[in-house]
Amino acid sequence: MKKVFLPLIWVALLSCIPYVGVAYFGMSYIFGVVIPYLAALLFIGGFSWRIYDWLSRPVPFCITTTCGQEKSLDWIAHQKLESPATKWQAALRVMTEVLFFRSLFRNTKAELHTGPQLAYASSKWLWMGGLAFHWSLLVIGLRHARFFFMEPPLFIRLVERTDRFFELTLPAFYMTDALVLTAITFLVFRRLRDAKLRIISLQTDFFPLFLIGAIALVGMSMRYVEKVDVMAVKAQMMNLLSFSFAAPVEIGPFFYVHLFLASVLAVYFPFSKLMHAGAIFLSPTRNLANNSREKRHVNPWNKPIKFRTYAEYEDEYREKMKKAGLPVEKD
């Protein structure tokens, strides 16, 4: 399976580069300062450009996918989220997609039995795995704030405290660390096991999973195994945040692997399917209100068109129309 191994090799290679660079060639300035800055620049620039590029293309028609009863007669219950009638309802619909993967919750698995008989089994695994994956990523991302602020905001400290709820190990184990690894494992294995997914998947589908998995593994190893000096990391990150180009202090090479892979992810993000994070907000089948008969949706490139007018029609059929007793405009 070339499409699985190649991305795996890519990620392994990418992990070696900073390790070798820092451990053997002392390139901590490049990996600790130059590359992170470049990556951040490309990420912010690329992401903004992609969003701008999408936004600059018109939405000519109101193409809501209606998944519930439209607003019609007063006595018929209107399903506000499934078939939003106002902008606000549509916004709420999008938020339920973003926060809870509402459409994915509908997922079923079709099975063909003898008969032939089709059956649709409920299948919430992807929904669960997807939510666990994304929410863990979010929490992990928030937790990282402690490296960027002297005193992290209260909200973030709360998130962190909750995440550490099971104080089983020292340093305290984060639930999301376990969750994200489990979820990634699940997401990779479903791509390999399910016959449909195996044929759908491309290298670019395995790559981000491996990459994020590697970032998480290296990160965890710094916390639980090959411990790095947290204060040094913090000093380095705050340095970067204050736009200082000062050379980093000595931190173990694992840290540079972690930081480099995260930089790769940041650069890869705007140019790949990871942009779905922005696209989900813009998807016209979800973010438009289903009110196209109530309120005219305007298409900026709509232009007049020549069509066959009634006059032309009557000219061709006048005699036949008269014979059939149809009224005509001209005799």
Partner: protein, 548 residues
């Protein structure tokens, strides 16, 4: 049965024996390595040269899909590239949906064509990849560098053949978009792909011939005005024979309150004509001041399956005629894709319709505020309101010979969101209504398998496969509730489901909703009704057996 479809037991055996990813069998190669094979039953006739000339479409010639050489025009690659570029600028949906798919596979087994063929390229995600792979090769800069990595490929003649095959094995039903976590609508991609193919003369006669007809005569079937009138008048006679009531439709009459437009299949096709009889009985019953146009005599719009411009051009007649006849508002008959166009496109393309008034039911006074701007009301909304206000005298027992189930047509379900009105009506006009399994109705409804202009006879095998999930759901209520009647609100369903039922579920008959309304309506001055609109005996009325 059609010579273009295998015998049912042959197909059934294939379902069980042939390996497919649907059943968990791994494919032995990547999808782009799988050959495209045209054989009897899986391709539609190409558009006749004279049809193309009439509507000014590209590359008129004689050709057929199984031909080795499709005689593509000089520079066709550039035409496709430029065409795609232009459409990427015009449609955010296209660009976004080409960019954003995460290939999660949630849509994969939601498509009726995948369920009926097991062909991996019928998974919506791969259908979109057919275009996406070419787009990736040519457009976003970075992915261009990473070719094998992101699955891109060059545009070749083989790719065109593949597009032709699979973008006509998509009925633009939008079922995939209900399940996609990002809301990706493969129908949007199919529409653009079909536009592109039309630019180089790769097309379908079953779609373009009706388009040409509709442009010239006003309707898909190419019925000229006098024949159109004659046919409706013969239905008027049939109604009088059956009920003793004379209904009085008028044609092209200025100053009527309402312009009524329905698909021409209701005027000419069996069983659509019985639905037409139902409408006319209803209008007579409430004394509606309406007229029918011979010029705008088509509700349907095969332009939707062709190009944006063609859809607009054909649709323009509706408002044009409403303005000429100085009606107040428009009422539309039962049809799926017609309502996709009316609900989501018409006012944007050809509005604003300021010359019309906000629709108000003359019988109940109900304002149809949801149609305030477009000024066209769906007949099911109109009738549901009448029934709710007690304005119809109905005897549902007259449909006791029917045990019904209801098929939501894709466009009305997922492109409009009308689910309750038809059910309310059906429950009011018959006593036995049984829903199919919940994964096969409402927003999850399965296509008839022949929508979007692929209901050609020579395409029968694919139609029977694509319609299999729908037929299978009907079969389950046939077993559990002895259902014998499949009620629809779509003219294409009425044209295509009968053959699907004959194939998979013999003994199930297809009806239009307003045909059942017509059966149940107790008309003023009617004679004793013993037969339904199809002249089938009603239950309890055989042999002078007086109900009650």
């Amino acid at each position: 049965m059609s010579k273009y479809a295998p015998k049912k037991n042959q197909l059934t055996r294939e379902f069980l024996e042939k390996p497919s990813p649907l059943k968990g069998d791994y494919a032995d190669r990547e999808w782009w390595e799988m050959p495209v094979e045209f054989r009897d039953g899986n391709w539609c006739h190409s558009a006749k040269p004279e049809v193309l000339k009439e509507i000014g479409f590209a590359n008129p010639r004689k050709w057929a899909a199984p031909d080795e050489d499709w005689q593509l025009p000089e520079g066709w690659e550039k035409t496709i590239h430029d065409g795609l570029k232009e459409r990427l600028k015009k449609f955010r949906s296209l660009k976004l949906y080409l960019d954003a798919c995460v290939r999660c596979g949630a849509c994969a087994d939601k498509c009726h064509f995948f369920l009926g063929t097991g062909d991996p390229k019928n998974m919506p995600v791969i259908r979109a990849e057919l275009l996406r792979s070419v787009y990736r090769n040519d457009f976003p800069m970075v992915e261009k560098i990473l070719k094998g990595f992101s699955g891109s490929r060059k545009l070749t003649k083989e790719v065109i053949k593949e597009w032709h095959m699979y973008f006509y094995q998509c009925t633009e039903c939008r079922r995939c978009s209900v399940f996609c976590p990002l809301g990706i609508d493969t129908a949007e991609i199919t529409m653009v792909a079909r536009e592109l193919l039309n630019l180089i003369g790769v097309n379908n006669n079953w779609i373009l011939a009706p388009v040409a007809n509709c442009n010239r005569t006003g309707n898909h079937l190419g019925i000229e005005p006098h024949t159109f009138v004659q046919n409706i008048e013969s239905l008027v006679d049939d109604i009088e024979d059956l009920t003793g009531v004379k209904v009085n439709p008028t044609f092209n009459r200025k100053g009527a309150e309402v312009l009524f437009i329905t698909p021409s299949g209701d005027v000419f096709g069996d069983p659509g004509v019985y639905t037409m009889m139902g409408y006319m009985l209803l209008f007579e019953h409430i004394g509606l001041d309406y007229t029918i146009s011979t010029y705008a005599s088509e509700g349907g719009n095969f332009g939707l399956f062709t190009t944006n411009d063609m859809m607009k051009k054909l649709n323009a007649k509706m408002y044009h005629e409403a303005e000429r006849l100085k009606v107040k508002w428009m009422l539309g008959g039962e049809c799926g894709h017609m309502w996709r166009v009316v609900h989501q496109y018409m006012n944007t393309m050809n509005g604003p319709a300021d010359f019309l008034e906000e629709p108000v039911s003359p019988v109940t006074g109900t304002k149809f505020t949801n149609a305030r701007a477009t000024k066209m009301v769906h007949i099911a909304e109109f009738t549901a309101d009448l029934i709710h206000n007690g304005k119809l005298k109905l005897d549902p027992r007259r449909n006791d010979h029917l045990r019904t189930t209801f098929h939501d047509s894709c466009n009305v379900a997922r492109g409009m969101g009308m689910f309750e009105e038809p059910r309310y009506i059906l429950n009011s006009v018959c006593n036995s209504f049984n829903e199919m399994p919940e994964d096969t109705i409402r927003e999850r409804t399965f296509c008839c398998g022949s929508g979007s202009g692929i209901n050609a006879e020579e395409f029968m095998e694919m139609r029977m496969r694509g319609g299999f999930p729908r037929a299978n759901a009907v079969r389950s209520v046939r077993k559990s509730h002895r259902v014998n009647s499949l009620v629809t609100i779509c003219a294409i369903d009425r044209a295509t489901l009968p053959s699907l039922m004959r194939y998979w579920n013999p003994g199930v008959t297809v009806y239009g909703l307003h045909e059942l309304v017509g059966n149940a309506l107790v008309m003023q001055g009617e004679k004793k009704r013993t037969e339904d609109l199809r002249e089938n005996p009603m239950a309890g009325t055989e042999e002078g057996d007086d109900a009650e």
